[in-house]
């Protein structure tokens, strides 16, 4: 029986030995520092098997639920297959279910996938083009309700992946995905806790996933969804979300358009910071570009929000990984 598998290779581990020591002995260059389960620099993710509770001490509820653990204090008793914390893992096949324009530059891509691709709404996957090019996109779908995964993709003129998506993808087309990744999920949230979901552009996708998940699980606290865009056209689910708020009394939708001077005009971060005042009690979900997420995270934390209650997903420029 192989107790430890790293990526696809079996790793020799002595009885009582911790995973980090075994990795280092196998000459795997695993990051580490304190070797006491505190600094979290050695964090990995179990893609198969369950790490012992002692190896998940100090991690967030979302990280625990998703199999993240600390190799330096992990002495496995049952088999584990692990990958570095930010790696998507093995790829699997997917087939295009549908592809539709949501606005000038945003498409909604729905993919049918293998049943063993298990994910939580708000996570992300790596979409892999024929030439091996990979990009990360967040999941707006709900595994309990949708037979497909749904991604909202902003097409960049001249982008390699954008060209692949716009020119090659049509219903029935096969491609590869890997993952899921990311911890921006409805976990560790109290059903009565206020939730603030704040995002810009296609950062709306994971927030939709989290919002749908919260509603399905019977979340009773208020849910405020802030969506920012540069132009009015960028509020690509405006009408759908307006309709949803009529069906759910605890749901509010706050759109903001940067280029507009009307009642919905302005910057989404400023709007959210103005409206949110129960900071220590609120569960935050932040999704979008580095500037928006970084600014909000810092300001919210300094004003009293707990970092444990700020979940985020930062969209990095293409090619830089995420």
């Amino acid at each position: 029986m192989t107790l430890l598998t790293y990526r696809e290779a079996a790793i020799e581990i002595e009885p009582g030995e911790d995973v980090l020591s075994a990795l280092l002995r196998a000459e795997i260059d695993a990051p580490h520092s304190c070797r006491s389960g505190v600094c979290q620099s050695c964090m990995h993710r179990a893609v198969e098997g369950n790490p012992p509770a002692a190896a998940q001490q100090g991690l967030s509820d979302a990280q625990k639920a998703l199999g993240y653990f600390l190799p330096c204090v992990c002495v496995p008793e049952t088999p584990l297959t692990i990958v570095p914390a930010r790696e998507a893992g093995a790829r699997s096949e997917a087939v295009v279910h549908s592809i539709d324009r949501l606005s000038d530059d945003v498409v909604r891509l729905r993919l049918e996938h293998d049943s063993d691709f298990a994910y939580r709404p708000g996570q992300l996957l790596e979409l892999i083009a024929d030439d091996g090019l990979g990009r990360h996109y967040s999941l707006a779908s709900l595994p309990e309700e949708d037979s497909f995964v749904e991604l909202h993709i902003r097409l960049h003129p001249g982008g390699r992946m954008s060209r692949f998506i716009a020119e090659e993808l049509a219903p029935g087309r096969q491609l590869h995905i890997a993952g899921p990744l990311g911890t921006c999920i409805y976990e560790g949230v109290d059903p009565d806790q206020p939730m603030a979901l704040i995002g810009s552009g296609t950062g709306l996708a994971p927030l939709i996933g989290v919002m749908r998940d919260a509603l399905r699980r019977g979340h009773r606290g208020s849910i405020r969804l802030y969506h920012g865009a540069r132009e009015r056209e960028g509020l690509y689910l405006h009408d759908h979300l307006e309709t949803l708020t009529k069906r759910h009394a605890n749901l509010r939708y706050v759109p903001r358009v940067l280029s507009d001077s009307g009642p919905h005009g302005g910057d989404v971060a400023t709007a959210a910071l103005e409206h949110e005042n129960a900071l220590p009690h609120t569960a935050f979900f932040l999704c979008g570009g580095e500037k928006l997420v970084g600014r909000l995270k810092r300001v919210l934390f300094l004003k009293g929000a707990s970092l444990k209650q700020i979940r985020s997903d930062t969209f990095l420029p293409a090619g830089s990984g995420r």
Partner: protein, 121 residues
């Protein structure tokens, strides 16, 4: 006699102090710039291991780790005055949490013990 770490309340005490300490540090104009552009979750984990060390708790830090971890900051001008500011912020955090003066001094002394490694002296 129980250890400083036990007297302070062990890991629970570290958990209670870490966010307040980080907030104090980020709000401190003397040192805030050293934290620009860092990943806040990673940084919080590092603060937690620093506090564990300063509370006399389990850690396997070596002088070499400390030097390496602060290399980039020393290049950006990190000096004694900044270490003083961090220790002040740490002491203030503990007082805000109602920790006794004797323990505050012991923690400050432990934090101070890595000064030369941090500054690569």
């Amino acid at each position: 006699m129980s250890s400083l770490y036990e007297r302070l309340g062990g890991e629970k005490a570290v958990d209670a102090a870490v966010e307040l300490f980080y907030r104090n540090v980020l709000a401190d104009g003397r040192i805030a710039r050293f934290f620009d552009g860092v990943n806040m979750e990673d940084q919080l984990a590092k603060q937690k291991s620093f506090l564990t060390m300063a509370f006399g708790g389990p850690n396997k830090y070596t002088g070499k780790d400390m030097r390496k971890a602060h290399e980039r900051l020393v290049a950006k001008g990190l000096n004694d005055s900044h270490v003083d500011a961090v220790i002040e912020d740490l002491s203030r955090t503990l007082r805000q949490l109602g920790v006794g003066e004797k323990e505050v001094q012991e923690v400050a002394a432990l934090a101070n013990s890595v000064r030369n490694d941090v500054l690569n002296h």
